[in-house]
C-alpha cells in the first residue's frame, strides 16, 4: 500500500467530483422531464403509450455503456447529426454523456412515476371534483404531488444508480472521478490505491444522497 499516493491523489480526485456532480445534476434534471413526459403518455392505452413503453424497455434492457458508445461514437457516423447544428452538442463529450444519462434515467423515472400514478386513489380525484376543482388543477395540484411523494424511495435509489452510472463518462474522455483515477494510474501504475480513494469518494456521496432522501421521505410522509 502506497500511503503517499493515497494522500496525494485524494485532492486530485476530489477535483473530479465536481464534474461527477455536474453530470449527475444535469442528467437528473433533464431525466425527470423526460420521465414525466413518457409516464404521462403511458396513462392511456394507445399508440403513444406503446412508443413510451418501447422507449423504457430499450433503455432499461441495454447496458448504459452501450448507450453512451452509440451516442458518442455511433452517432458521429450519421451525417444528419455530424453535418448539422446538432453536431454542436454531439461534438462535446460532456453533452453526449448527459444525453445518454438523461435518456437512461428518464426511462427508469418514467416507470417509477407510472407506477406511482397507478396507485393514486380515485377518491382523491372525486374529492377534488366534489369541491369543484377543475380536472387540470386536480392533475397538477393533487395527482402530481402525491405521485412524487410515493416515488421518493424508488427515485432515491435511481439517483444513487445514476451517480454510479456517471463513472462511465470516463469512457468518453471526461475527467470525472473515475476519469481522473485512470489518469493518475496511467503515470503511477498503482490502480489499487487510487481506486480505493475514488471508491471512498463515491461511497461518501452515496451516503449523503441516501440520507437526504430519507430526510425528505420523513418530511413528506402523511403520518407526521
Amino acid at each position: 500500500m502506497d500511503i503517499d499516493l493515497i494522500i496525494t491523489s485524494f485532492p486530485k480526485l476530489l477535483g473530479g467530483a465536481l464534474i461527477t456532480l455536474k453530470l449527475l445534476f444535469a442528467s437528473m434534471f433533464f431525466g425527470i422531464f423526460i420521465g414525466l413526459f413518457f409516464a404521462i403518455l403511458r396513462i392511456r392505452n394507445n399508440f403513444l403509450s406503446k412508443i413510451a413503453y418501447a422507449y423504457s424497455y430499450i433503455f432499461r434492457g441495454t447496458p448504459l455503456l452501450v448507450q453512451i458508445f452509440i451516442i458518442y461514437y455511433g452517432f458521429a457516423e450519421i451525417d444528419l447529426i455530424r453535418k448539422t447544428f446538432l453536431w454542436e452538442a454531439f461534438k462535446e463529450p460532456y453533452w453526449c454523456a448527459i444525453i445518454a444519462f438523461a435518456l437512461n434515467t428518464g426511462a427508469y423515472t418514467s416507470e417509477i412515476l407510472r407506477s406511482a400514478f397507478e396507485t393514486i386513489k380515485i377518491g382523491y380525484i372525486e374529492a377534488g371534483k366534489s369541491l369543484g376543482i377543475s380536472k387540470k388543477l386536480i392533475f397538477y395540484k393533487i395527482q402530481i404531488p402525491i405521485a412524487i411523494k410515493q416515488s421518493l424511495p424508488a427515485y432515491g435509489n435511481e439517483i444513487i444508480l445514476m451517480l454510479k452510472g456517471t463513472s462511465l463518462a470516463s469512457t468518453v474522455t471526461l475527467m470525472d472521478i473515475t476519469g481522473i483515477a485512470k489518469y493518475i494510474i496511467s503515470t503511477t501504475f498503482k490502480p489499487i490505491e487510487v481506486f480505493i480513494v475514488a471508491g471512498s469518494i463515491y461511497l461518501f456521496m452515496t451516503f449523503i444522497i441516501h440520507n437526504v432522501i430519507k430526510f425528505l421521505e420523513k418530511k413528506y410522509s402523511f403520518n407526521n
Binding site: Y73, A76, E77, R82, W87, K91, P93, T171, T173, K182, Y183, I185, S186, T187, F189, K190, P191
Partner: protein, 281 residues
C-alpha cells in the same frame, strides 16, 4: 464422490500454476496497428506478435502472447499476469521507475496528424526534430507548433509518451483529450472532435490506408526527450527471491535474443513487412 468432482473442477478452473520456468507469457495490447492488432477472427497479429515469436524461438522459450488493455499493461505485469510486455511501449524514465526494459528493438517515430483541409496543415517545420539535441532549430519548431496548437483540441491515447509530451509544456498548453485506445483517437480525429492527434506516425498512416479517411501527418517527426529511447521489452523489476532471479535472467535472455535478431536482419525484415520501412534499432 460428487463433492470431490466439484472440488477438482474448481481447482482446475481456479489455479493453473505457472510452474514451467521456461514457459513465458508476453502481454500485448492488440489495438495499436501495425505494432500489434487483432484480425476479424480474434487472432493477434502485427510487428510485435511476429517479433515475439521470433525472439522466443531464439531464446528457446515456449511463449504465449496474451491480450491486455493498454491502461492496465504495467500494473498487470507487476502483478505477474504475464512476464514481459511487447506493446509498442517506449523506454522512458517514468516507466523505468516501475519496470525494467530490454534494449530497444525498434524506433517509434511520433507525429501529429490532422484531417486534410485543416488550417494546421501548412505548418512549416523541419522534417524531424530530436528533443535530446535541442538547439535553435528545435526551439523554433516547438515555437511554431505551440502557436499552431494553442486553443486546439489535441487527442492522444492515455498513458503514452505522446501524452507526456503534450503535457511537458514544450508546446504550451493544449486542450488535451486522452483515450483508452488509438482506435478511439482515430475515430474522433476523423469525425472532427479532435483538431489534431499525436501518436506513432505509422499508426496514422496505417489508419489512413485502411479506412480511406483523409488523415495527413503534419509538422515534424519527434524523437528524444519525452518520447523516450525506442521501444523495448518491459520486464518486472525483481527482488532477490526466486521470481526476481528468473525475471533478471529473462531480461538478459531478451537482450541477447534482440541482439541476435538485429544482427541476422530478422527485425529489419519484420519492420519492413509491417511498417514499410526499417524501424529496427
Amino acid at each position: 464422490m460428487f463433492k470431490k468432482t466439484i472440488l477438482t473442477i474448481f481447482t482446475f478452473l481456479l489455479l493453473t500454476a505457472n510452474v514451467y520456468a521456461d514457459k513465458i507469457k508476453i502481454g500485448t495490447e492488440g489495438a495499436y496497428p501495425p505494432w500489434n492488432s487483432k484480425d476479424a477472427s480474434g487472432n493477434l497479429n502485427g510487428f510485435e506478435v511476429d517479433l515475439a515469436n521470433e525472439l522466443c524461438k531464439i531464446m528457446k522459450h515456449e511463449c504465449t502472447i496474451v491480450e491486455q488493455d493498454w491502461d492496465g499493461m504495467i500494473p498487470a505485469l507487476v502483478m505477474r499476469k504475464f512476464d514481459a510486455i511487447m506493446a509498442g511501449m517506449s523506454i522512458t524514465d517514468e516507466r523505468m521507475k516501475t519496470i525494467n526494459f530490454s534494449q530497444g528493438y525498434a524506433d517509434e517515430v511520433a507525429s501529429l496528424a490532422v484531417m486534410k483541409g485543416s488550417d494546421l496543415e501548412g505548418m512549416s517545420t523541419p522534417e524531424g526534430i530530436n528533443l535530446n539535441l535541442g538547439g535553435g532549430d528545435v526551439d523554433k519548431a516547438l515555437k511554431t507548433i505551440t502557436g499552431a496548437l494553442s486553443g486546439k483540441t489535441v487527442c492522444t491515447q492515455i498513458g503514452t509518451i505522446h501524452q507526456n509530451f503534450l503535457e511537458s509544456g514544450d508546446v504550451g498548453k493544449v486542450d488535451l483529450r486522452t483515450y483508452k485506445t488509438q482506435d478511439e483517437v482515430n475515430l474522433d480525429l476523423s469525425n472532427g472532435r479532435c483538431d489534431a492527434a499525436l501518436a506513432a506516425a505509422v499508426a496514422f498512416t496505417d489508419y489512413a490506408d485502411k479506412s480511406g479517411e483523409a488523415v495527413v501527418l503534419v509538422g515534424p517527426t519527434f524523437s528524444g526527450g519525452a518520447f523516450g529511447n525506442g521501444v523495448g521489452v518491459g520486464i518486472r523489476k525483481g527482488g532477490d527471491d526466486a521470481i526476481g532471479k528468473r525475471d533478471a535472467k529473462l531480461l538478459k535472455d531478451f537482450n541477447k535474443a534482440i541482439n541476435k535478431a538485429r544482427k541476422d536482419g530478422t527485425i529489419s525484415k519484420l519492420a519492413i513487412k509491417w511498417f514499410g520501412f526499417d524501424a529496427s534499432m
